[in-house]
Symmetry: C2
């Protein structure tokens, strides 16, 4: 055994990571603020950022170093929203039988290692991914279009926190039953009947993670780690535009698995060319027993209806809604909303799209404001936020696809333009595709305009008869079209209570009167639930027991003592 | 408020049942023997049995007292396997819109009561059901055919224990998150960001429980109570042949709900005439969000594939298998297997059907036994067990349907008859339909004979080349056709280990060397898992976290502190 192997033996990893796992399990119960991986760049040392840039540059224009069973050629073609061709190629699986047989081959030993060892191996993977957070930041920036610092935080420590949360939840679920128990049933005056019971956690099979183009790690890790820690093998099928961040993650996972004495093929990468249809083919293979998907409603529903041999966890589209009734901090509200709209150009599944307010206006601490005034003031707040392009692009990032750009540029066709989506010059990347948010005013009656997800930098200011109608639109819109987030601004506790009742009925996370440094788009691991699994936007949640508890099964043996 | 209402106020019920719920939550963690409801008739007092008989007789030939929204006429027609026409009629729902609207109407108040109050109400329901256990025993005996004492235990305390287990599990899951938390994120030298978080458990909608004809309460309660305690309304759709036990249960639930100040329509009964198809119509209604089903594979798979708007928990058919390799207690093994075969004439989802043994025979403490000898000796053990008809019928009970009788009488067509299914005269019910088990010998190659569930008193002695082949048949049979139980007899630890590996691969509860007073058919609440949710026999388990955790969702509110 080499020193590396000894250092990475399951027993050593269990010792090394026990404290962190215990702390994480405490955090998910308490849900006060906690984070395992620092979001401050300084915590990573002065050398981390420059050496990560060197490492990222070395990846460009080359075949990515990864072994993949069943791969016979290569695939690639990622292009940065900032205008760079990445030129990275990846092994391309053409033989699914070989891939899936290899994925299954290591499962018995992985199962027999037990929950504690699997959790420790997963935490070691996360520790090494964490050490590559800046390299991942470059990879995420140049695939998704996120600005560098957001890419670092959201795709690095925040994604790692969500992964650890899934591992902690799953470990708690897997160890809920004892591994052995003595069953002793009294028989009156006769001797009791005594059986020895044993319970073993067994995996379901091969899991597939279908990555998305905007948050490949943040949305990919929860399913990946939840399936892996519960004993399943995982095939990661990245979005063709965002392969590199998941390729790096898979590379790390394979490295740790091998060092710890497990089969690295427990985690594999299966990238595909645009339009190839590999995800559909894989999804209905009988070996695939779990699917985690983030992306379009159309494909999510197809998976739910078609891949009935698998458990399917989906996060799809929705219409995130803000109800504006009144405020005692008008400037704070506008600044908060402007940031929520601008951050990554609204390309977040949690970004607000629909802003409902009475057409007669709202009372505020700065006096009554008409609906038009609120719309204009929000536009001005966006202008102010993004006025300096060099700083603005660090908020907006770049647009992930031509579809998003076309939606932004065409937003004016939906209603009255309050603010146009406008380009913003990037100081370093002349070819970056960047748009500031469009703000479009429509009437509540014009529901065709605003009741489909308009993914990207487009906000609808929707005028209603009253807050009561705003709440009705919130209710009906989310109940029918889904929503991951909702938000309410009101100084009236009765209105807040009515909004809460609506949120309970439609099952949506409700943020109330956010005016400071927390935004409706953001959910924190170990505290906030991401999604509810209750409305059409998602059938599952990061992270609750239901997200992890069905990924494994328990087999009991019993024998007379 | 009346005295009844005060006594049954949610607060009083929470106090009354706190200790029992705490004890139950401890039991599911420890899984040593525990039971909440005594299985000894004496524990119920000397008056309980005669007064229950009177109560049962009073139900016969009459309309059952139950209010049901949407019912416009009546339905009935249950006939006892012991030859009695029950003559009970029930409200018959013809207007599903009215039924489902009424079911939903009480859900907000039930949701707002919170997990602790809902759990206490459910335990009060169970306490009152427990008090009617002997009445339920008559109802179950004369619908399912179970012998009276089995009906008392399995449909009474054992079913109540499973229900309490589901309530305890669900309460633990619902209270896993705190109801409030203060989120305080440090901001370096600046003040921390502080948010107040609140988490509310919300129900999914209306749940449907599809009852079966053999264990209406034992198989019906887990889903009924798991859905109810998590805040959902429940429509109980009983099997046309076994309405009365669930009608009594629903009657009790409605009584307690009303006394505690909740809408009794949170639990309703929707019986149907044979062939009416109400279950299919109800199952795809958009209001129905959860379905629990026990019954045929065909309908179970139809529900899983079709009712995609709902979570579907199914228990279907399977081929329960016993592998006989060797034994050091030949007489004990035969006695144990004879009882397993005979109990309720094999009409248990957990009853063994396929007995695999090497055609060259097995070593035993009574010397080597050929396959033919084992078959003959098992037949003799059955003869011995059931030799006295008056005692025999208390083990076999009666046959639930003509289908089962026809299968028993026609079993000889599948192979060599070792023992014929024969009638047994019941000392009190001359018209009872009773059959002792048929034992049929076939070769492993003749898989058409034994690889479908032959529900009822039919056992196949299947000769194989070796125990290795027996284990292969166990593996392939259960992997493809499902199985709730498996059993192995061997004196060789290596064989037991191989059997355990097979059980892990196919996901089946494995009992080893049962020779005493525990039978492969029996699983104990709070200790044994019923099913694994892993092979085709069932997609869920009584009871694990996955069985309860997805029946509710959590909605979060967050607000600056």
């Amino acid at each position: 055994m080499s020193e590396t192997q000894i250092a990475s033996s399951p027993a050593n990893l269990v010792d090394r990571h026990r404290e962190l796992l215990d702390r994480a399990m405490q955090a998910v119960r308490e849900r006060t603020y906690w984070s395992a991986y620092p979001e401050h760049p300084k915590a990573y040392g002065g050398e981390a950022m420059p050496s990560a840039e060197t490492a990222f540059q070395a990846l460009l224009g080359s075949p990515f170093e990864l072994e993949t069973p069943g791969a016979t050629d290569t695939v690639g073609g990622e292009r940065s929203p900032y205008g760079i061709e990445l030129g990275v190629t990846y092994p391309h699986v053409t033989d699914l039988d070989t891939l899936l047989a290899a994925a299954r081959s290591g499962m018995p030993a992985w199962r027999d290692a037990g929950p504690a060892a699997r959790a420790a191996v997963c935490v070691e993977v996360l520790a090494r991914i964490n050490a590559r957070s800046f390299e991942l930041a470059h990879a995420v920036m140049h695939t998704t279009g996120q600005a560098f610092m957001m890419a670092f935080q959201a795709a690095g420590p925040h994604a790692q926190d969500r992964a650890l949360e899934a591992v902690a939840y799953a470990l708690a679920e897997m160890t809920k039953l004892p591994s052995t128990a003595r069953w002793e049933k009294p028989q009156g005056k006769r001797d009791p009947i005594v059986l020895d019971l044993r319970y073993t956690v067994v995996p379901r099979g091969v899991a597939m993670v279908v990555g998305c183009s905007t948050f490949p790690t943040w949305n990919g890790y929860p399913g990946l780690f939840a399936s892996l820690v519960t004993g399943n093998a995982v095939v990661v099928k990245p979005h063709p535009r965002a392969v590199l961040p998941l390729a790096i993650s898979v590379q790390v996972a394979r490295e740790v698995l091998a060092e710890a004495g497990f089969d690295p093929n427990l985690v594999t990468l299966a990238p595909e060319a645009p339009g190839e249809g590999l995800a559909k083919t894989l999804a209905v293979r009988p070996e695939i027993k779990i699917i985690d998907f983030t992306g379009s409603t159309a494909f999510g529903v197809w998976l739910e209806d078609t891949a009935t041999q698998a458990l399917v966890y989906t996060e799809k589209a929705g219409v995130n809604t803000v109800v504006i009734d009144s405020t005692d901090d008008y400037a704070g509200m506008l600044a908060n909303l402007a940031f929520s709209l601008s951050l990554y150009s609204g390309q977040m599944c949690t970004a607000p799209q629909n802003f409902l307010l009475p057409r007669d206006g709202i009372p505020t601490d700065a006096g009554p404001k008409s609906a038009d005034e609120v719309a204009q003031d929000l536009a001005a707040a966006v202008d102010h936020l993004l006025g300096d392009p060099a700083r603005g692009v660090e908020i907006t990032g770049a647009l992930v696809s031509d579809d998003v750009r076309e939606r932004a540029d065409g937003a004016g066709s939906h209603g009255t333009v309050v603010r146009e989506a406008s380009p913003l010059a990037h100081p370093r990347f002349a070819d970056a595709t960047i748009r500031t948010p469009a703000i479009i005013k429509v009437d509540a009656a014009d529901s065709e305009a605003y009741l489909t997800e308009c993914f990207g930098p487009v906000a609808f200011m929707i005028t209603t008869d009253s807050t009561e109608q705003s709440l009705q639109v919130l209710h009906d819109g989310v109940a029918e079209h889904g929503g991951l987030t909702a938000s309410i601004y009101s100084t009236d506790e009765r209105v807040l209570a009515r909004a809460e009742e609506v949120a309970l009925q439609i099952g949506v996370l409700l943020s109330e009167n956010l005016t400071g440094g927390v935004y409706v788009n953001q959910t924190a691991a170990f505290s906030d639930l991401h999604g509810t699994g209750f409305n059409p936007a998602a059938n599952s949640v990061y992270t609750d027991a239901a997200f992890v508890a069905n990924r494994f099964r328990v087999v009991e043996f019993r024998r007379p003592a």
